[in-house]
């Protein structure tokens, strides 16, 4: 869930560099607008979305978790977008070019305004990117924009970004949360309160926000994409108990849910009137067990390896998740070009684990979110078979994530469900670099750090893949995270809801869905 941080973009993140080599051609070519699907939808209606937890904030500069991103993606547009094929496409920037390896020029869409009437222009882009880059901003994405040297408005609709060094993932970064544009006027007026009163250019406008109860958005009547959105209103309801969330879907109290937790997949598959579907494999989707190396006895790599060996991944996938996933041996999904095919599967080996522990008795506390109580009980029994006594401490997602980043845990059951940039830098730098935005272990080795930095500046995908393979190999030896399985990118909704597409990054696009009938 840490990783339930949204990053979108493409294998084509290399485009920046490739473009530079190609002498600065038109990147996405000011081609068709992403809306050109032909408006077949039906206007009107209210959609109720069931989420695992509430957004911690609606300010896109801060990681707002999986739930938060599902909401902010409806309020804000990104400078660039990414297609299902991973290609970077236009967003608020209609086109872009790269005159050289360290310069990116964005040509902005004309006539776009923020919900508060502020025009969207080059000055707004400068304000946004500088805000995140400000060392005092507290933004989660500071590291992602760190290679930027300066952002300048060369005319009202043109922005020039200058880099300190080549930075392959940049386009992917701008197609993700760091590229979400907020209204400078609203932010200047009340920077502290912006997280509760967000103003963007997106298809929906915030109407009301009641923490832990609901967040209501209404249609943006002046949305720049003609005819969109279809819905009049969207209500997001945090429902922390997964069974309740799914019951509400089956009874019609909610229309769509963010994610179907493993134990409820079969129930949803069998339910009448509900569509269950699996989208393209996520760029990153893993259920994993992070192990805090500062909390003894987890400072001992043998203990961490023993835990990883003790987990019966096959049983968890087949029996708990009803087959909706594949056992994992690394933190990146097989769909990514950075996936290391040479890493062996982690064998289920309780005896080996016991031997590694050398007769020690180990007691651990395992922090578990509601979504994975069943998975956690299997892990608990697995660990017991290896001589590790783990108690289950249940808590809500928000607390779990806070504890993760604060290193306030021994081991947890965590997940990352898409919401990552297609560029593998997102997830790999995130998990394994010392200052990575997903690193809840606070740990790295100099070698891993060096390889990750190098991969950021390399231009050739094959070279980068080699570097990432090595990172994954070294990380496997450190065993700071025990990958458990790559869950299916699943979602479920009422059959009255039309036009739902599950994106590779798992973020909902509610502008293009509509309710049939009433």
């Amino acid at each position: 869930m840490i990783g339930r941080i949204r990053w979108v973009a493409a294998i084509a993140a290399v485009v920046l560099v490739a473009g530079a080599c190609g002498g600065g051609g038109e990147g996405g070519g000011a081609t068709t607008s992403p809306t050109a699907t032909g408006a077949v939808g039906q206007r009107g209606g209210e959609l109720v979305v069931g989420l695992d937890s509430d957004a911690t904030t609606l300010d896109p500069a801060v990681d707002s978790g999986y739930a938060g991103t599902q909401i902010t993606a409806q309020i804000f547009d990104t400078l660039l977008t990414v297609g299902d094929d991973g290609q970077i496409q236009p967003g608020l920037a209609e086109s872009w070019e790269q005159p050289d390896a360290t310069t990116l020029v964005l040509h902005l869409r004309e006539g776009v305004t923020f919900h508060d009437g502020t025009p969207f222009d080059a000055d707004a882009v400068v304000y946004n990117l500088d805000r995140i880059r400000d060392p005092n901003s507290g933004s989660t994405w500071q590291g992602d924009l760190a290679p930027i040297d300066s952002v300048t408005a060369t005319d009202p609709l043109t922005v020039e970004i200058t880099l300190q060094r080549p930075y392959a993932p940049l386009l992917a970064v701008l197609a993700d949360q760091p590229g979400m544009m907020i209204s400078p006027t609203a932010h200047r007026a009340d920077p502290e309160g912006f997280g509760d009163a967000p103003v963007g250019t997106g298809p929906f406008v915030l109407e009301e926000r009641i923490p832990d109860e609901r967040t209501t958005l209404v249609r943006n009547e002046d949305y720049w994409q003609e005819g969109l959105p279809y819905l009049d209103r969207v209500v997001f309801r945090p429902i922390p108990d997964p069974t309740t969330k799914i019951t509400d879907l089956l009874s019609g109290a909610v229309d769509i849910v963010d994610y179907v937790p493993p134990q409820l997949i079969e129930r949803v598959r069998q339910a009448p009137g509900v569509v269950y579907d699996v989208g393209p494999e996520n760029y990153a989707a893993a259920v994993y067990v992070p192990m805090n190396p500062d909390a003894p006895p987890l400072d001992d790599p043998d203990v961490r390896r023993a835990i990883s060996m003790a987990i019966d991944r096959r049983t968890i996938v087949d029996q708990v998740a009803f087959g909706a996933g594949v056992p994992a041996n690394q933190m990146i999904a097989p769909s990514s070009w950075a996936y290391n095919p040479d890493l062996p599967q982690i064998a289920y080996d309780p005896e080996g684990a016991r031997e590694l522990l050398g007769g020690r008795t180990i007691r651990l506390e395992m922090q578990v979110p509601p979504t994975y109580v069943q998975v956690a009980q299997v892990i608990q029994q697995n660990l017991a078979a290896a001589g590790i006594e783990a108690t289950i401490e249940r808590m809500d997602w928000g607390t779990l994530i806070d504890n993760y980043y604060a290193k306030n845990y021994q081991i947890q059951v965590q997940d990352i469900l898409g919401l990552t940039r297609s560029d593998p830098d997102g997830v790999l730098y995130g998990f394994f670099a010392k200052d990575g935005s997903l690193n809840g272990t606070g740990y790295t080795t100099p070698e891993i750090q060096r390889l990750l930095e190098q991969a950021r500046t390399e231009t050739d995908q094959a070279t980068r893949a080699g570097l990432y393979h090595r990172v994954l190999e070294l990380a496997d030896a450190e065993a700071l995270y025990a990958p458990v399985y790559h869950p299916a990118n699943n979602r479920a909704w009422t059959e009255d809801l039309q036009g739902v597409e599950i994106k590779p990054d798992s973020v909902m696009d509610l502008a293009t869905v509509w309710l049939q009938g009433g």
Partner: protein, 284 residues
């Protein structure tokens, strides 16, 4: 958890006196059987209750080979979980009632024997506990001490203590007012001796009736707490957390919810019928 300990559920008016009726004998039989299951449960259970036997299959229905009542979502034997869960749930309720009764005896006894400001302070303290709705008090205690089986017992017993304390106090006052107690006091018997010899033996019957009622309330209290994840912790089975877990799988296999629910209802109903009968028979 309606009417915890305070309300005489079977309020006294019935054709009074006499032996138990048929339905009450039936209730006694049912309750006896449940208690027997709780005592023998772990011996009768074919498997350890937390053992996941995935090779046998998940969510098997009753009558499956090797699993009389089938298995749950983690391929744990339902019969074993139900039997051990019966012991856990009854055990928690019993421990809570005993502890609550003990607290009540201590506090109510001291208040009744000492009187004066001690009485006033102790009874105000009991009123203060009554000012918390039962589940709220239990949740605060779980928040303070961390949810566990022990916390559950403690929480429920603290919820029950004021009811017992008030009863003990009023019974003590009643007994103290009797002539023989006054005589004992005049002959120089210590307060402790009076309490032990003269008062305690005379208040057991009404206390017992109250304890039976309290037990009938402790069962759903534990179930509710465990259902919310604040009571008995997984993978230990209790009726409440079996329902909570099984609810996710309801349409695939209802047994994980239905069986513990039936146990709860049978237990509470048989206790409440039985408690009525006993009260009437004793003509309290």
């Amino acid at each position: 958890m309606a009417g915890l300990a305070e309300v005489p559920v079977g309020a006294a008016v019935r054709s009074s006196g006499g032996a138990l009726r048929t339905v009450e004998w039936l209730a006694a039989g049912a309750f006896g059987l449940i208690v027997l299951l709780a005592i023998l449960g772990p011996l009768l259970a074919p498997y350890p209750p937390e053992e996941q036997r995935f090779a046998d299959g998940v969510l098997l229905g009753p009558g499956s080979p090797g699993h009389l009542l089938g298995t749950d979502q983690l391929a744990r034997d339902l019969l074993s979980r139900l039997l051990v869960g019966t012991r856990v749930s009854l055990g928690v309720a019993l421990a809570a009632v005993v502890l609550g009764l003990g607290l009540g005896l201590l506090i109510g006894g001291i208040a009744g024997m000492r009187g004066g400001w001690v009485d006033a302070v102790l009874m105000r303290a009991m009123d203060a506990l009554l000012a918390f709705p039962a589940l709220v008090l239990a949740l605060v205690i779980a928040a303070a001490l961390g949810p566990s089986l022990r916390t559950t017992v403690l929480a429920i017993s603290i919820v029950m203590a004021p009811g017992f304390a008030r009863l003990v106090r009023s019974l003590t006052l009643r007994e103290r007012a009797r002539d023989y107690v006054a005589a004992a006091r005049a002959s120089g018997a210590s307060a402790g001796r009076i309490a032990r010899v003269h008062i305690l033996p005379n208040i057991w019957a009404p206390l017992g009736a109250q304890a039976a009622l309290a037990f009938g309330h402790a069962i759903p209290a534990e179930a509710a707490l465990s259902f919310l994840g604040l009571g008995v912790q997984l993978p230990d089975p209790s009726w409440g957390n079996m329902i909570s877990e099984g609810y996710a799988y309801l349409s695939l296999s209802p047994w994980g919810v239905v069986l513990p629910s039936i146990m709860i209802v049978c237990t509470v109903a048989s206790i409440s019928i039985l408690a009525d009968g006993v009260r009437r028979a004793l003509e309290v």
